[in-house]
């Protein structure tokens, strides 16, 4: 499984209130949520993500609340994967449950630039930067996580098992 796209870089501690403010939590419709993703940071973000992007971030991405809409909104907006130094525990689980690949990649922010085009191989957890002779090796994803991601999320994975 490979995902690719242009990189948008963010800093440390992008919290769930920034990813999707509380006023939007009364709904779970992915398209509605996508329109407001990361709105306090950049009201134009959802437009920029629409073509399919890879988010590169620092420490504790997704820190804060348990709102699953944070993962739903990012994925629906066009975020193909989040590569970060570290994640908050709850967001990490929510992302996988919703089929949004999340990889722990130490030092990624030092290597990848805003606007780079990257290809992420989820099985090998390698990130290749196009046009530059560098790559980054991230922490490998366990088999079960890969299976959930390729099904598109936990619900889809469980449905597949029942068949």
């Amino acid at each position: 499984m490979k995902v690719e796209g242009k990189v948008i870089k963010l800093g440390d501690k992008i919290d769930t209130d920034i990813i999707i403010p509380a006023k939007y939590l009364k709904y779970t419709d992915p398209q509605y949520l996508a329109q407001h993703v990361l709105e306090p940071l950049d009201p134009e973000f959802s437009k920029k993500a629409a073509e399919g992007i890879i988010l590169v971030a620092g420490k504790l991405f997704g820190t804060g609340s348990s709102r699953e809409q944070a993962a739903i909104a990012l994925k629906a907006a066009g975020v193909k994967a989040v590569l970060a130094e570290s994640f908050s525990r709850i967001f990490y689980r929510n992302a996988i449950n919703n089929g949004l690949p999340v990889l722990v990649c130490q030092g990624i922010s030092d290597v990848v630039n805003d606007g780079d085009y990257v290809v992420v191989n989820l099985e090998s957890s390698e990130v290749l930067i196009q046009g530059r002779d560098v790559g980054v090796k991230c922490k490998e994803l366990p088999d079960i996580v890969l299976r959930i991601l390729s099904a598109g999320g936990l619900i889809e994975y469980l449905r597949g098992l029942k068949k």
């Binding site: 501690k13 504790l60 449950n97």
Partner: protein, 416 residues
């Protein structure tokens, strides 16, 4: 053989095998819960899985708090939907509008030492005050627990904190939580469970423990647990009328590291927005003009918080807007009987109960553009309490009350 920490003991019991840090294990869950704002989402997931069954109806707790009382039609609709679910499945442990914040209700009525508690809200960590392994999770994970009674967890690395001595006047659990954030910052404990040993149980009462455990999410700890002691037993006895057992770590348990907080050295502290770990002494920032003061939330809406606020505001008038929200109906009634509510209302505070209110920028006094908020809640993220240009400073109840009186960030000594 080395012994087990409290975390390892609980997860070994719940998984049926001896666990060690970094193991990924399936555990049976003793208590599962959700509130209105996450509940409708949990129910939606159950519908999508196509399995609307409840594994253990008695172990399911539902409380309405985020949208209480409903500020708009959609909020009322969400609650109606969850009420329908409650009726359909005959859920007994249901707390409708007017009961209190889920985390407080769990402490008062349900949680016991040694349990595994999973709720659809990050501040589920609060239940660690009673020595439970408590984690917040998203709607999908919680729906899976409701249906199967189980979940998976990574066994966190154990870290030991010792609370030694006694706090100075007006300094409370909030300042201890902020002291730890000041010392370790918000990412140090990611992947760890922090076990608190209180040397002198009476010196750090349950209200303070609940505040610290509540902010365990702000430490980004996987779990926070207070080792059960006489104070734990006293609290359960007072709230529920029965004596609970203690589940304890082995004396020779091994921790990755250890840290001692000398309670007597802890100052009145404040977290500067938009970071919960940018912590300073109140003295360093005092004098800042304040628009709104909020005393409440699952962090500091308990009886001792209201007692402190009432003592400081007694016979005075507030200069800034001040909203006070006791965390539950039980807390509200006790505060009413003790005269705290009268004192706070006389001082000019707006008092209601059992809702999250402005903590999540929902209603009951949200912050306008560029306004400065002094709040006893747990998060000062950008836009958390209202306008994205408002600023939230996190403090304990004494500093909040003193600031409301002077209209500036103040210490209690400035008004007494």
């Amino acid at each position: 053989m080395t012994g087990q920490t409290l975390t390892e003991k609980i997860l070994s019991r719940a998984s049926g095998r001896k666990v060690a840090p970094n193991d990924i294990v399936e555990v049976s869950v003793d208590l599962v819960g959700f509130h209105d704002l996450t509940g409708f989402h949990v129910i939606e997931v159950m519908e999508r899985i196509g399995r609307e069954v409840i594994y253990n109806p008695k172990g399911l707790v539902i409380a309405f708090d985020h949208l209480v009382p409903p500020p708009d039609v959609r909020s009322a609709e969400i609650q109606k939907l969850v009420r329908g679910f409650v009726r359909k499945h005959g859920i007994v442990n249901f707390h409708d509008v007017g009961s209190g914040i889920l985390h407080q209700i769990l402490l008062e009525n349900y949680v016991l030492p040694g349990q595994v508690v999973i709720c659809a809200d990050s501040h589920t960590s609060t239940a660690g005050a009673l020595g439970a392994f408590a984690q917040g999770m998203g709607a999908t994970d919680v729906a899976a627990v409701v249906v199967t009674g189980k979940t998976w967890v990574t066994v966190p690395k154990p870290f030991k904190v010792v609370l030694k001595g006694s706090l100075r006047k007006w300094v409370t659990g909030k300042d201890v939580a902020l002291e730890i954030l000041k010392e370790f910052k918000s990412d140090y404990f990611n992947g760890m469970s922090v076990e608190f040993f209180v040397e002198n149980p009476q010196s750090f009462p349950m209200d303070y423990r609940a505040t610290v455990a509540n902010m365990g999410v702000e430490f980004n700890a996987d779990a926070v647990l207070f080792i059960p002691d006489d104070e734990t037993v006293r609290y359960v006895k007072v709230e529920r009328g029965y004596e609970c057992g203690k589940v304890l770590p082995d004396p020779n348990a091994e921790y990755v590291d250890e840290y001692t907080v000398e309670l007597g050295n802890v100052d009145l502290l404040v977290a500067i927005p938009p970071n919960v770990d940018n912590v300073k002494s109140v003295r360093e920032v005092s004098g800042l003009d304040v628009d709104l003061v909020f005393i409440g939330s699952c962090t500091n809406g308990r009886l001792s918080d209201l007692e402190i606020a009432a003592k400081i505001m007694d016979g005075k008038r507030v200069k800034s807007r001040c909203v006070v929200i006791p965390a539950s109906r039980k807390v509200f009634i006790k505060a009413l009987e003790l005269g705290y509510i009268q004192t706070l209302v006389d001082a000019g505070c707006v008092v209601t109960f059992g809702t999250c209110g402005p903590c999540i920028g929902g209603h009951f006094g949200v912050a306008g553009p560029d306004e400065v908020v002094i709040s006893t809640s747990n998060r000062n993220f950008i836009g958390r309490m209202g306008s994205p240009t408002s600023k939230t400073y996190l403090v304990g109840p004494a500093v909040a009350a003193a600031s409301a009186i002077t209209g500036k960030l103040s210490e209690p000594g400035d008004v007494l």
